[in-house]
Amino acid sequence: MIKIAIFGFGSVGQGVAEVLLSKGDVIRRIIGDFEVVAVTDSKGGLADENGVDLAEALEIKRKRKRLPEGVTTMDVIENMDFDVGIEVTVTNIEHGEPGLTHIKGCLKRGANVITSNKGPLVVAYKELARLAEKNGARLMFEATVGGAMPIVKLVKNDLAVNEIYAIKGILNGTCNYILSRMERERLTYDQILAEAKELGIAEADPTYDVEGIDAAAKLVIIANALMDMDVKFEDVERVGITKITPEAFEVAMEKGYTIRLIAEVDKIEGILRVSPRLIPIQHPLAISGTLNAALIRTDLAGDVVVVGKGAGSKETASAIVSDLIELYRCRD
């Protein structure tokens, strides 16, 4: 019996709970029996050695906006028996908390961790990787980069013996939505941003997305975890999309280009940056809407391109469950 604890019960945590419920049979066929022994949020939680009723937890959360008081995340990490912690609390890329403490706590006691939380990995990937190794645990983080777009395990498993020279990608769906709408409608940045906010694609304060901060955080994870580099967030050269004009698309289009925000890490050229770039319109990275995409340049496999939904609770849950499968697969 695999014992799971879920830390964080916002849209991602709830998405995971829903998938564990709705796809429980399929998952059990692949990894064997499992049980969620704890679910916590910032206010409280539910815990039971014999299994928490996920449907009930979802119901309580929806009705009361919070889980019952009395159980805390650190209580669970320090005192309960579980095999894998799913850490899906809020991202903070400056200090990584509270996720960093949660992940360290799990790894120290030898429990595996699956996370969608970029903060702890941006702040302390190498330290966490060492901690995991020392304690015989594994740290899984497919959901931190590209949402449902497979990239972490693609590089670590399928491209395992390849040297990764460079990865360039569209790692922020909000920016890609704004740019592809500007391309099509020839409206100003401000007009499309207002539209994106109304549709819930952009946050009220869109800085994190439009200034390339989110993409830069993902790029740091890619560089450190997939390309064996040792870089910090501050090392990323970063230009956002706020100054791009509708005319820029017109002028670019005359030469057969469009504009996209590209995160690029290149080991050979020593490049680590997020910036708007001219992309030939027939190029695989010239994608539209909230999609993410990545082009992986390798020595053996040549160029590999992946495209997928970069955000959303179902999509992120898909990535998290794929990590769960990777950890415990016993049948195809």
Partner: protein
Amino acid sequence: MLMTIVVELKDQPGQLLKALEPISRFGGNIVSVFHQRDKITPLKRIPVEITIQIDEKRVEDLIEAIRRNGVIVRSYNKVKLTATTSLLLIGHIIHTDLGDTINRIDSTGFAEVVDMHISMPQLNHPSTAMVTISATNDENLKRAIKILKQICREKDITVIEPLELQ
């Protein structure tokens, strides 16, 4: 146009000036002057390679003028620019001395702005320019882009680079 002229000069004071004086007279810009002292001729003349930026139409007259000054012109060639790329600039391109921006690329001697398409929506609004730069090779093209990015940082112009250099 970027070109190199190789002249042979006697090893005496004042010789170089005879070769250089006509260049400014014909509106050329001297990019570099390189004395090839290791390739001295049997008659003890020193080959000097001069790289200049000049209007293509005035080249023949210039060469004629240098020769009239008593200087031997061994050869002259247009510098081949084999690497080309386009970049997009967004900002107050005209008001921040466009001439200076172009000149700082052209005066490198290894790259030049070969094409520019500017779109100005309204007065006092940022304009957009597609700039095409050619250089003698890929390495120099990268150097030219670095210089352009530096200039644009100074002038608060956003540079949109191509995904790959063709």
